[in-house]
């Protein structure tokens, strides 16, 4: 679990990221990487097939690979000297000019995934509006996105706040293209495959914690905040939205098979799911931004 719970740092120049390890039964194991230079503002943590730990930090604009023991193995991107004067949240505030994307650099990256060859795919992110591909050693390959890579777009291969990414066994990438309200599927060469749009109306009386305007793009029902894909021969895609606070189970072709959850702070309710893991079809872990918690969910499908 990669969190923003550390104390050091100013509130607008945070160095608050902490990384915790828990056992499968939920018991605390250890804190990893205390005061690591890249750990500023946690956005995502992913574990690769070799149990390496990948930290994606949108405060430092860095993606760092740690060994299972916590040693730094690979460093991608470079931390700015200060983020105090530059941080805004374009998903929620009026557009601000963003400099063109630069190869090998990231601008508020959000998530990481890998294809079977170990190539690295980074959703990038809040400021850049693109997906980057690097080889397994961190050598830059390419970026796909509109124009200079920092422009929001809604066409194929264009993004508006790519907020998460997950890979299937064939190496296709499922990008949570959040403010476009779709999961965009790319092949491992970053070529557009298809869009997946979830269109299930919210129930009457559905709420949104935080008091935001529900018509804002990140809060449209089905707008993907987090994605994961189950392992195994028959894979499923899970997608979480913030409003009305649901998790959707989909076939990889985009068919919505079912859904569950609602906005709220009680058990079985969700307050802005920001990260999701699905170790099996009927076991899902969700981390919520507004409740500072992780829920382990056991699904009981009737069919």
């Amino acid at each position: 679990m990669y969190t923003r719970s550390g104390a050091p740092g100013h509130i607008v120049a945070p160095q608050a990221a902490q990384l915790f390890e828990f056992a499968p039964d939920g018991s605390f194991v250890r804190e990893i990487g205390q005061n690591l230079y890249s750990m500023a503002w946690a956005h995502a943590v992913r574990i690769d097939k070799d149990d390496n730990i990948w930290l994606v930090d949108n405060g430092s604009d860095m993606i760092v690979k740690l060994s299972p023991a916590g040693q730094v193995m690979l460093v991608l991107g470079r931390r700015r000297e200060s983020v105090a004067s530059t941080h805004t949240h374009p998903a929620l505030m009026p557009e601000t000019p963003t400099p063109p994307a630069r190869d090998t650099s990231f601008n508020e990256p959000t998530d990481v995934a890998w294809d079977p060859a170990g190539n690295i795919f980074i959703s990038d992110g809040y400021k850049n509006m693109s997906v980057a591909k690097l080889d397994k050693n961190g050598k830059w390959i390419k970026r796909v996105g509109k124009g200079n890579g920092a422009e929001a777009g809604s066409g194929p291969g264009e993004f508006n706040n790519p907020h998460g990414i997950a890979a299937d066994a064939a190496g296709n990438m499922y990008v949570a293209d959040r403010s476009n309200g779709r999961v965009q599927v790319l092949d491992s060469d970053l070529k557009f495959v298809r869009n997946i749009v979830i269109d299930i109306p919210p129930p009457q009386g559905a709420t949104l914690t935080g008091g935001y305007d529900k018509t804002l793009a990140p809060f449209r029902p089905g707008a993907p905040w987090a994605v994961c894909i189950t392992p195994g021969p028959k894979q499923f895609l899970f997608v979480a939205d913030a409003y009305p606070g649901r998790v959707y189970k989909l076939a990889l072709d985009g068919t919505v098979l079912g859904y569950f959850g609602t906005d709220g702070k009680e058990l079985k309710q969700f307050n802005w799911i920001h990260a999701i893991a699905c170790p099996s079809e009927n076991e899902v872990l969700v981390a919520e931004l507004l409740t500072w918690r992780v829920q382990k969910l056991l699904l009981k499908p009737s069919r």
């Binding site: 679990m1 915790f20 828990f22 939920g26 018991s27 605390f28 804190e31 205390q34 299930i200 959707y248 189970k249 919505v256 098979l257 079912g258 859904y259 569950f260 959850g261 058990l267 079985k268 918690r293 992780v294 829920q295 382990k296 969910l297 056991l298 699904l299 009981k300 499908p301 009737s302 069919r303």
Partner: protein, 47 residues
């Protein structure tokens, strides 16, 4: 008679053709949440 048999043949052909599965609207999936799943130690954390 000939046209009647054609109609019958068409009917049989339609019957023999496998019907596509009826599209089902996505349903709510029942689920449980494990209470108090993550067990953080009290702060400050052990180092």
């Amino acid at each position: 008679m000939k046209s009647l048999s054609r109609v019958a043949a068409l009917g049989l052909a339609l019957l023999a053709y496998p019907l596509p599965a009826l599209a089902q609207a996505p349903q709510e999936i029942p689920f449980d949440s494990v209470p108090n799943f993550l067990k953080m130690p009290p702060r400050p954390l052990p180092r």
